[in-house]
Symmetry: D3
Subunit: 242 residues, 6 copies
Amino acid sequence: MTNFERSGRRAADQLRPIRITRGFTIHAEGSVLIEFGQTRVLCTASVEEKVPPHKRGSGEGWVTAEYGMLPRATHTRGDREAARGKQSGRTQEIQRLIGRSMRAVFDLKKLGERTIQIDCDVLQADGGTRTAAITGAFVAAQDAVTKLIATGKLSESPITGPVAAVSVGIVEGTPLLDLEYVEDVGCDTDMNVVMTGAGHFVEVQGTAEGAAFTRAEMDELLRLAEKGIAELVVLQQESLAA
Amino acid sequence: MTNFERSGRRAADQLRPIRITRGFTIHAEGSVLIEFGQTRVLCTASVEEKVPPHKRGSGEGWVTAEYGMLPRATHTRGDREAARGKQSGRTQEIQRLIGRSMRAVFDLKKLGERTIQIDCDVLQADGGTRTAAITGAFVAAQDAVTKLIATGKLSESPITGPVAAVSVGIVEGTPLLDLEYVEDVGCDTDMNVVMTGAGHFVEVQGTAEGAAFTRAEMDELLRLAEKGIAELVVLQQESLAA
Amino acid sequence: MTNFERSGRRAADQLRPIRITRGFTIHAEGSVLIEFGQTRVLCTASVEEKVPPHKRGSGEGWVTAEYGMLPRATHTRGDREAARGKQSGRTQEIQRLIGRSMRAVFDLKKLGERTIQIDCDVLQADGGTRTAAITGAFVAAQDAVTKLIATGKLSESPITGPVAAVSVGIVEGTPLLDLEYVEDVGCDTDMNVVMTGAGHFVEVQGTAEGAAFTRAEMDELLRLAEKGIAELVVLQQESLAA
Amino acid sequence: MTNFERSGRRAADQLRPIRITRGFTIHAEGSVLIEFGQTRVLCTASVEEKVPPHKRGSGEGWVTAEYGMLPRATHTRGDREAARGKQSGRTQEIQRLIGRSMRAVFDLKKLGERTIQIDCDVLQADGGTRTAAITGAFVAAQDAVTKLIATGKLSESPITGPVAAVSVGIVEGTPLLDLEYVEDVGCDTDMNVVMTGAGHFVEVQGTAEGAAFTRAEMDELLRLAEKGIAELVVLQQESLAA
Amino acid sequence: MTNFERSGRRAADQLRPIRITRGFTIHAEGSVLIEFGQTRVLCTASVEEKVPPHKRGSGEGWVTAEYGMLPRATHTRGDREAARGKQSGRTQEIQRLIGRSMRAVFDLKKLGERTIQIDCDVLQADGGTRTAAITGAFVAAQDAVTKLIATGKLSESPITGPVAAVSVGIVEGTPLLDLEYVEDVGCDTDMNVVMTGAGHFVEVQGTAEGAAFTRAEMDELLRLAEKGIAELVVLQQESLAA
Amino acid sequence: MTNFERSGRRAADQLRPIRITRGFTIHAEGSVLIEFGQTRVLCTASVEEKVPPHKRGSGEGWVTAEYGMLPRATHTRGDREAARGKQSGRTQEIQRLIGRSMRAVFDLKKLGERTIQIDCDVLQADGGTRTAAITGAFVAAQDAVTKLIATGKLSESPITGPVAAVSVGIVEGTPLLDLEYVEDVGCDTDMNVVMTGAGHFVEVQGTAEGAAFTRAEMDELLRLAEKGIAELVVLQQESLAA
């Protein structure tokens, strides 16, 4: 196995520098700018005192997410989805993933009949936007819940624990943690893993872009993901404690 | 771990009865009705002597897929997507998955500048429509390629080997192979696995619908998937040999 | 008038082999696969215990229809309407026709405030898909009504009698009954006729694709249609009696 | 058979007052305001020196039509289709009918590779808008062709003869020619007939809105239509001669 | 400053011949054809006894507008917005402008919970369609209000005074009132001004299409607009008094 | 005239604190975060070596703009336009305004056949987003042009001078410069003014939201705008010189 040389002499099992800025914008109940290296995603959590039709009268709340990318967040400009008149399949896939990941750590009964609407908007993309989005969205959601408790709207937290996500992949035969764009483009296998703070899996989405991958490779990728997510959960907690 | 009782006394690691009917309709280059128990999907492969813009002039071909469900394929009637004017996020997610799975076993250079368009339409749904679709689509694609070779348009097959898919999940604590609808609805964890004939992974998509799942559970689910897909690949080959 | 030679030595006033398979799928209240030769249409009737806005509170029910064609039901693949984001003018015209034809034999007062939603999906096309759809839809609707009576939701049938449809046309000067695709493509005049079991007209839609047609030609076409529909009504009844 | 009393003491087989105003607007190559009583439709014919894709390089031209209704052309305001973002099934059905009717009297080879685009916009509706549209569209198309000949773009007319249309129907048992709105609303059977100047049929579209109609009734309706269209063709010619 | 020669020897500060025809169509509560020279716009005011969601239960009414242009109202045919499936940015800008202009002279409290829906449809365009639309819409709205008072639905008028609009612009250095199409195409600056009968501004929308304009030029343009609108208000009153 | 008390003791003719941050993101040729107090807009300029159809082969380039607002840029969350499937009339109006404003200071001939695509995305809104967008877009466009010159793609600048914009309005009788959200909501008259560095008008868009405004009020508003824009142009130059 040759060693793929990463930018900035990063080790194969090393995260990019992570920065979590809470209160990045003023209106949202939770507003977090999360940076995984050059990837920057603005995650807001908005509380709405209503639920979608399938939850009305159920006594339960809802947590859902939308995802977007500014047209020039990327190397070459992409179409603006609002102008084109529809969200791409990729966008829908990602926002469904973020929503499921958030709901995995929410007790909807305890939330009561209200919605926490997560918005993840990519200001700058350099790989791993969906995993950064999930990791940042959790912090924004936590801030929104704290506000609900502070204002007496909730008496106990509906959040059952942290959730975070990271990408892993095999590039030129080397399993790597937290792929940046140039690695992602060249990788054979790309896997996005979402885990709880307790180290259990919420989502595993692995795709062989080139050659199919073996069970041994999969095991190594899952090990890397477990390591990375454990670190991300610590960073989330430090940010929330600040 | 209690044993969940399956319909028809099916064992936890047993596939539903699988039927593959080639030549189900007359116009398509490949046309396969695949049945996983009560789930019935019509998979057609259409050859078009042109490629999408991103492949023009590349000397390479393309393989892509679309997925649909007849409005009353399900227990209660769903909206017709054509009437509603857009495909749901779920539909797009599935058709992107089918397309990637097919491309995993295609050498696009050898295909030449033409497209194999897969259409998977669910006539009757009882769980596992996307995995049945992938398994059937491979047989339809193989038939289309055989026709291209028979008519002299291709001199060698661009297909590098079989691909098949199955769902696995944990229902009331029991890991099960090939979930039918009632099992899918009640499951804690649902995983769709796509593998090549050589037993390598093409796609792994696991979602904790209820509680997050442990690494041990994941290992057991992957083992079940490996077993099921190995059987499906044999059934594909038997059908193609008939 | 030269005699146009039909495939399979079919006479000018002869229907193609007709097959009606009830219970083709398991979920719908009525589910019929109807075959006019190589044309195969799956017709389902779904009962919904609600009505569209213009019937709410009226005490009356509604019967409506949607029509679709699988992309590769035809010789060359057509666009998937769900992917393109809208139904073609042709599709809308056909589904409006099916809906009106069904309502012609329904007493909406007796149906009560519920909807019978007909779905006609063409699995394989070889001419005459809309007339096969109407003929099959009636059988599916009858099965749905029978179920409503059997479960005590209706005490008497809202159906006033059978309805069936057939195409007629003039090909190379010869008036023909029940056109298949190659005849339809080459015809000068194409007429779709919908009639009740009593032999009265519900819809007549004639179009001169080539030369305009005379009154004498029209009379002959109507005569052929009357003959064909009388036979179809018998086949519907035999199928329902089975 | 009771005699239905028509407004303005109109006889059962009498057209409403017809007015054809050529040159109603200044920009179009043909521009006709046609009035069937209170129904007023503006029909323009625009010449475009290009053809749609399916005619490119064929040496043949194309004639096509679009139809619209101003939101308050009717008793109660209807939605503006441009605002709602799509044309209704009814609108598409009508514009397809107008297009086919015009092409029935055009020799597309003689037209050369150009398009005559017909626009029929209903300024005021009182029944029979589609038949007024066809009758007026022919006059507008004739004016456009005359201009093409006058400017030397065409040496001979591609028009093979006149085409006109009228509605007929059975109201309270009485067959009537040229239904106005109140008659249309109450009718059992409604038929739109398009014929050439030679008295041959181009389109026949009959619908039983209430009871199905007999062959004898159909014969009487066709007789009324033949009478009305013969008169309309004379009025078209008088207008064009003025 | 050279003097730009206008068609028909029109002076720089002279309106085109204005014609206001009330009752142009029969169904709408107010229906006005307004002509600014060759520009002809049909303005209807429809009364609907309901309000949009943001006004429900407020005790206030609403006044809103939609705008459209027949495809061949212009020199070369434009796309039909209903067929294209959306209104252009220009159309939306204009209809929002008309709506705001009407609301500027309406006391929504006095209107009560009902809507006056204005429709402005351009039958023929020769510059200034939006200003003609506003000027005509006021007359149609006045007629609708008069009818509401006559039928006892309103006891006093919610209209606070007249509103009218005109375009002004600088063509080849000469400030001109009420631009026709050829002037509009060649102008450096184009300004649409909406004023009340009292001579106060409701809307000012000035755009430098070529060179930016000075404060002195702006003052002259506003002076021309004041003159033109004062004349239009007189013509509106004369028309309403007729 | 009472004096309206502004937040932060701001004078009536005083701009909010303005901050211009160049190079805010890394991929775009020009990337500027502009802040007018709490209003924050990210403006990027992307160079594309192609032009829209109406400019192809003309030797001229094109400058155009798109505008968006993150869903939670505002006090209460707004719909995501990409999810709703269309841009609002307001969005289209604003992006058309930004595009015209940029083109007012571009010599499209000198730009050559390439497009400068401006994207203005509001991260946080507190009034004046469109004027901040124009002011920031100019700086981003200047950076993109500088890069084109630096890389030898352009030999001289196509920019003819600066352009900037500010809002003015009358709140409780007091004319104010650069309205923030609470002022905008309560204002009687709102005017957006776009001017060149030479002090000439590019756009003037004034709307009476409450009472119509007099000529004297308009003169005072224009004077405030002139003062504010002169200051903004200085700030743009200082930022570009840094």
